[in-house]
Symmetry: C2
Subunit: 247 residues, 2 copies
């Protein structure tokens, strides 16, 4: 399982996250556009210095989760209406377990300290998880939020713990979901196709891109189907560019 | 439920604990012999400043848990053999729920950052709880440990959340356990009696005191029984002091 921190401000929090990951047996950390350049030396990564050194740094969330098949966003949803399915943390373990059992890769994404994930960030997520907190004080410390989520998953979705192999998929009724990167690739080609087809007025593009991203994640096509759809759109796009329709 | 921090060194950790308590709806914090005098102004208590201001400061753990009927110690037990019953955190909720349902009061005790609770501290505990961590990196950040425990209890032993009243005890088959303070009072009188009776050589006193404390917590007498036993020992002591035995 991947832990992804989007634009964390305080290096001590990044170190504390690394420590919590080591506590619960997780080892893949990605940090998207961190605020401080020297975050990898954070003294708070007690016993997890190596994990922090090996953390991946990316410029975008899309890049950080590109290889993941289930991207789970975190945060409190008190002040916004989510566009994705929301589960409470105690209900997350079986979903993660199922995804891992069918050979998928799961990312748990945390936003910056002050404001959490943006609507834009969340559009890369298939699922939102909410830690059940007191409505009078829902805002959690970043390290605490990570620790609580990883405790829950390590305790109740055992195969996610590194060191233990995922159990052999007993009845893989669905093929693995497409990775986030495949969906982004497909979305790009679809968008280009829409523009080439004159379907999407330029002024609407940002909103369309957002909705398209969400749509693909709701559909959750498998990797093979994603490649099929991609092939289809590439073909359409090629046709559109070579010989624009007359009408 | 009471959260008790024994000799915390870093005020930022105390503030972070207060914040985690507010997140999960807990409000009684006690701090035993804190290292820094100005811990109540910790900036990390985001949204929990009032809780921190109202925290109780005591000189001893005995005083902090005196009114509690179930005292639960926390920590990793990799390097010592515990003298009490140990449960893994996921198994704690029903025990806490049961104690609250019969009118008891529960304390969750956390040790100092570096070394955790001492054997002496643990002798005030009836029960030890262990957070299931990776054996390669069991040492948790203090705030993380508190957050994980409170998340577990808030989610799986609902009545502990403040704001919600504890459910009416349906079938109170046992009377409430005696408070930690009552047991300490009893232990003191028993010890005095033992000394007066010449039973306890001075050189053995510290070890005896420790064993006696553990013994009383294993027996877990009710408040009424504790008062009865106390009355008995007081009577014996009075006799011993007034008229020492000839033989």
């Amino acid at each position: 399982m991947d832990v992804v921190l989007v634009s964390p401000r305080n290096p001590l929090n990044i170190g504390a996250v690394a420590r919590a990951m080591a506590n619960f047996g997780f080892d893949r950390l990605a940090v998207v556009a961190p605020f401080e350049p020297h975050w990898q030396e954070a003294s708070s990564a007690v016993g997890a210095e190596g994990l922090l050194q090996n953390a991946k740094r990316t410029d975008s969330l899309a890049e950080a989760v590109a290889r993941c098949t289930l991207v789970v966003g975190t945060g409190t949803l008190t002040y916004r209406k989510p566009e994705q399915k929301v589960v409470s943390l105690p209900a997350l373990a079986p979903l993660v377990q199922q995804e891992l059992a069918r050979g998928g890769r799961v990312a748990l994404v945390f936003g910056p300290e002050k404001h959490g994930l943006t609507r834009e960030d969340l559009s890369w997520c298939q699922l939102l998880v909410e830690i059940p907190t007191d409505p009078r004080q829902p805002s959690m410390n970043l390290g605490h939020a990570v620790a609580v989520c990883l405790y829950e998953l390590a305790t109740r979705a055992l195969p996610v713990q590194s060191g233990k192999p995922a159990p052999a998929p007993e009845a893989v009724e669905k093929s693995p979901a497409a990775s986030s990167g495949s969906l982004d690739l497909l979305a790009g080609v679809i968008e280009e196709t829409m523009t080439a087809a004159g379907y999407s007025p330029r002024s609407m593009q940002a909103a369309n891109r957002h909705d398209l991203r969400l749509l693909l994640r709701r559909l959750a096509p498998g990797e093979r189907d994603t490649r099929r759809i991609l092939g289809l759109f590439r073909r359409i796009l090629w046709r559109l560019k070579r010989a624009p329709a007359k009408d």
